[in-house]
Symmetry: C2
Subunit: 109 residues, 2 copies
DNA sequence: TTATTATATAAGTGTTTGCTTATTAATACA
DNA sequence: TGTATTAATAAGCAAACACTTATATAATAA
């Protein structure tokens, strides 16, 4: 890993909203519309954050019908560091459980 | 550590020039004028980077005559993570040894 | 087909970043 | 006393960033 690769990696992680996204992804794979509910952000804002995380290869996307399901890239060389950093952070206020309770959890077959 | 503290921490580290500075500091404590030689950057540019690292409490400063000697803050709670991240990076091209060879190493009593 | 849903992308905006040059402050030395 | 030397700070600037609203694309449902 050279200095510019490390810079890109740390900049991709180093945003509080993207850390919240990554923290959620430690628990479950999610789609854009679920993040907009969980984080109270607009759909383009989330999409743009996912694009950055994707460019850093921190996440993977899978198209499923109308949805794009995002997950952590557990094969990333620095995945253990990412998990360690995220483990230092508290759980976000709104949980995936409240999503389910509100009937907003997406279940795509 | 909350999300904004982690963001500040990662942003402080997440710059290729600041990582070079930190990598040098793993080997030795250095002053601004030595960094300008090692990194071929202007004095204010280095000073401003040190200010950011200081605000993140990643480095400590000690005034010695005309010089300010900077060192790694080994008491920082996330110091082990920092060392691990820096260990993934190659040694910078210009070494502290070439500084000494060029008679540019500062020795302040 | 048409409408709806989920997402991506484009364009615009205010803020932050990392430099630059200029200046100031403080110490050391002649 | 000056006069270097070292470093901090100020002001200015171009580029990057994180959002916004508007629009485009693609899949599903009626």
């Amino acid at each position: 890993m050279d200095y510019f690769q490390m810079e890109s990696y740390l900049k991709a992680i180093g945003d509080s909203n993207r850390m919240r996204i990554l923290k959620y992804l430690m628990k479950d794979s999610l789609c854009i519309c679920e993040f907009t509910e969980l984080m109270n952000m607009t759909q383009p804002a989330i999409s743009q954050h996912m694009k950055k995380l994707k460019q850093a290869e921190l996440v993977l996307e899978e198209k499923r019908g109308r949805w794009t399901i995002w997950s952590l890239n557990i094969r990333h060389a620095q995945y253990p560091i990412l998990i360690h950093l995220l483990s230092l952070l508290p759980e976000p206020e709104r949980t995936i459980e409240t999503l389910k309770a509100g009937g907003k959890k997406v279940v795509c077959e």
